[in-house]
C-alpha cells in the first residue's frame, strides 16, 4: 500500500518535471543555439552544442550601424530605472492619499482611478503622440518615462492602497498624538511599512518597461537611442536574411536582467502576484 503511494508520488513528480522541461524548452533552445556556430543552429538538433563558440556574442555586441549593443543595454537600463523610480514614488503618494487621508471628492477620484486601470492604452495613444510631437519630445525618453512620474499605471496605486489599508490605523493615531503631521506619517510610518509592495511595484515596472516594445517603437527612431527590444527587432529580418547566431545571442542577453531580478526578488514577486493578481 505504502509502496504504491510512493510510486504514485514519484510518477507525479516525474510528470511535473517532464512537463516543466517541455515548458522551458524554447528558452533552453534559445540559450543553447546562441552558442552554436551559425550553420549548426538549424541543422544540429540536440540541445548541447557540438561545437561551442562565443562568436555570436562578439558579432552581436557590435550592434547596428556602428552603435554597439552595449548602448542599447545602457539605454534600456536608463529608461527602466527612471520608470521604476517614478512609479514607486508617485504611485505610493497617490495610494497614501487614497488609502489613509480623507479629503474632498475622495470617492470620485478613487472611482476614476479604478476606471483608468481598465482603459485600453490605445484610446489615449494618438493625442498623446500629438502632444509629445508638439513638444518636440519624439526621439527623447520623456514620452516613455514621464507617464510613470505622473502615476499613469494606476494598477500600482490600487495594489498599494490595498496594502496600506492592512497597516493598523493605531500606528498613525499614536503618531498624530506624538505630533506627527500627515506628511511625516507618510515618510516615517507608511512608506517604511509599505516596502514589500514598493518592491513588487518596482520589479513589475522594471520588467514592463524593459519589454515595452510598442511605446519604444513609436517614440524612438534614432538608432543611438534604441533600447534592447528595438535593437533585437532591427537585427531580425522576417524575410529570413538575419544573422541568426548574433540575433539569438543578443536575445539571450536581453533576458538576463529580467531573469536576475526575478530570481533575486522572487519572494516579493510571488506575493505581489498572489495578493493583487498582477500579470
Amino acid at each position: 500500500m505504502q509502496m504504491k503511494a510512493i510510486g504514485l508520488g514519484l510518477s507525479k513528480h516525474a510528470l511535473i518535471i517532464l512537463f516543466g522541461i517541455a515548458m522551458l524548452y524554447p528558452v533552453l533552445w534559445l540559450i543553447s543555439s546562441s552558442f552554436k556556430p551559425n550553420d549548426m543552429i538549424f541543422t544540429q538538433t540536440g540541445l548541447w552544442p557540438k561545437e561551442f563558440t562565443l562568436d555570436n556574442y562578439r558579432n552581436g555586441w557590435r550592434g547596428l550601424q556602428d552603435v554597439s549593443f552595449g548602448t542599447f543595454f545602457a539605454n534600456s537600463w536608463i529608461v527602466s530605472i527612471l520608470s521604476v523610480l517614478g512609479n514607486v514614488i508617485t504611485c505610493s503618494f497617490a495610494a497614501f492619499a487614497f488609502g489613509r487621508l480623507s479629503f474632498k471628492f475622495q470617492k470620485l477620484w478613487f472611482a476614476l482611478m479604478l476606471v483608468t486601470i481598465m482603459l485600453p492604452y490605445h484610446v489615449t495613444l494618438i493625442p498623446q503622440y500629438v502632444i509629445y510631437s508638439e513638444l518636440h519630445w519624439i526621439n527623447t525618453y520623456f514620452p516613455l518615462v514621464l507617464p510613470k512620474w505622473l502615476s499613469h499605471d494606476s494598477f500600482f496605486i490600487l495594489m498599494m492602497v490595498q496594502f496600506i489599508r492592512g497597516i493598523p490605523r493605531e500606528l498613525d493615531e499614536s503618531a498624530t498624538i506624538d505630533g506627527c503631521s500627515q506628511r511625516q506619517i507618510y515618510f516615517r510610518i507608511i512608506m517604511p511599512l509599505l516596502t514589500p509592495a514598493l518592491i513588487s511595484a518596482a520589479i513589475f515596472t522594471f520588467i514592463w518597461s524593459w519589454d515595452d516594445f510598442f511605446s519604444q517603437m513609436i517614440y524612438l527612431s534614432d538608432i543611438k537611442l534604441f533600447t534592447v527590444q528595438l535593437g533585437i527587432r532591427s537585427m531580425f529580418d522576417p524575410s529570413g536574411q538575419s544573422d541568426w547566431g548574433a540575433l539569438l545571442a543578443m536575445s539571450t542577453l536581453s533576458l538576463v536582467p529580467i531573469t536576475l531580478i526575478f530570481l533575486i526578488f522572487q519572494r516579493y514577486f510571488m506575493e505581489g502576484i498572489a495578493t493583487t493578481g498582477l500579470k
Partner: protein
C-alpha cells in the same frame, strides 16, 4: 473650536491634494484630455502635418460599411481572445491543482512554470516562437515522431494565429500563481465533510473547488480579456510586421498602429481606438453583470 477644525480640515485637504498632485496631473493631461482629444480626432481627417479637418461620422461609417480589413482584424482578435484566454486559465487551474496538494519542492516548480510569463512579453521570445514553429522547426519535428506532418505554421495564413495563441497559453504561469494562492484559502474541512458525505474527487472539484475559486477566476478573466485585446508584440514579431501573410496577423492593435503611424491617418486610427474602447468596455460590463450568477463570495451576507 469650530474655526480650528475648519482650518484643520483645509490643511488636511491641502496635504492630501499635495500627495495626489502627480496623479491628478497625469489623469487630466495623459488620460482625460487625450481621451476627449481622440474622440474629437475620430471625427476628423488628420495627418499630423496639417490641421484636423472635420468630417463628422464619416470615419465610423467607412469603418463599419467599407473596411474589410477592420472586419477581418476584429474577428481575428476575437478568435485570439476567445481561444487563448479560456485555454490559458484552464491550464493554469489544472497545473495549480496538481501542485496544490502539499507537494514537495513546490517553490521550484512554481518558479519553473512562472518563467514563461516572465519572459513571454519580450521580442526575443517572439522570435524564438517564430523559429520553433517554422516549417522545419521543433514543433513539426516533434509531430514527426508521431508520424504527423505538420503544416508550415508561420507562412500559412490559416495556421499562424495558432502560433500566436500558443505563445499566449504558454504564459499560464502568472494565472497559476494566483490560483495557487486562491486554492490555499479554501478551508480543508470542506473537503473532509464532502468525503464523509461520500463525494468523489470530481464532485468535490465541481461543488467545492470551482465555486470557491470563482472570485479569483472572475478577476483573472476580466484582466485577461482586457490585456489580450491589446496584444501587439507577438502579432508584430511573429508575423511580418505588416499584418501578413495575407492579413493573418492583422490584430486589431496592429491595424490601428498601421493606420496611425504608417499611413498617418490619425483621425481614422482614433475612431478605431474608440471602437476598441467600446468593445473592451462592453465585454468587461458583460463579465461584471453576469458575475452575480456565477461568482460565489463566501462572506456574502445572504450566505448563498
Amino acid at each position: 473650536m469650530r474655526a480650528t477644525r475648519k482650518t484643520m480640515q483645509r490643511q488636511h485637504n491641502l496635504t492630501a491634494y499635495g500627495f495626489l498632485l502627480p496623479w491628478l496631473i497625469g489623469f487630466f493631461c495623459l488620460t482625460l484630455g487625450p481621451m476627449l482629444g481622440s474622440l474629437y480626432l475620430s471625427l476628423t481627417k488628420y495627418n499630423l502635418l496639417s490641421a484636423p479637418k472635420w468630417v463628422g461620422l464619416s470615419n465610423y461609417v467607412t469603418i463599419f460599411t467599407d473596411d474589410q480589413t477592420f472586419t477581418n482584424s476584429l474577428w481575428l482578435t476575437f478568435k485570439y481572445v476567445f481561444m487563448s484566454v479560456p485555454l490559458r486559465l484552464a491550464f493554469a487551474l489544472l497545473v495549480a491543482m496538481a501542485l496544490n496538494k502539499g507537494i514537495r519542492a513546490l517553490g521550484i516548480y512554481r518558479t519553473i512554470y512562472y518563467v514563461p510569463s516572465l519572459l513571454g512579453g519580450s521580442v526575443a521570445i517572439a522570435i524564438v516562437w517564430r523559429q520553433i514553429f517554422d516549417g522545419s522547426g521543433l514543433v513539426n519535428r516533434f509531430l514527426g515522431w508521431f508520424g504527423i506532418e505538420g503544416p508550415s505554421w508561420i507562412s500559412h495564413p490559416d495556421y499562424i494565429v495558432y502560433t500566436i495563441i500558443s505563445l499566449s497559453i504558454w504564459q499560464f504561469g502568472s494565472a497559476m500563481v494566483i490560483f495557487l494562492a486562491g486554492l490555499k484559502q479554501i478551508p480543508g474541512d470542506l473537503y473532509e465533510a464532502a468525503q464523509v458525505d461520500g463525494a468523489g474527487k470530481a464532485r468535490s472539484f465541481f461543488r467545492i473547488t470551482l465555486p470557491m475559486l470563482t472570485p479569483v477566476i472572475f478577476f483573472n478573466l476580466v484582466m485577461s480579456i482586457i490585456n489580450s485585446f491589446q496584444a501587439f508584440t507577438p502579432a508584430f514579431v511573429i508575423g511580418d510586421g505588416r499584418g501578413g501573410p495575407l492579413d493573418a496577423t492583422m490584430f486589431y492593435t496592429l491595424y490601428l498602429y498601421m493606420k496611425g503611424f504608417s499611413f498617418f491617418e490619425m483621425g481614422y486610427a482614433s475612431a478605431l481606438a474608440w471602437i476598441m474602447l467600446l468593445i473592451v468596455g462592453g465585454f468587461t460590463a458583460i463579465v461584471f453583470m453576469t458575475s452575480k450568477f456565477w461568482v460565489f463570495y463566501g462572506d456574502s451576507k445572504d450566505g448563498r
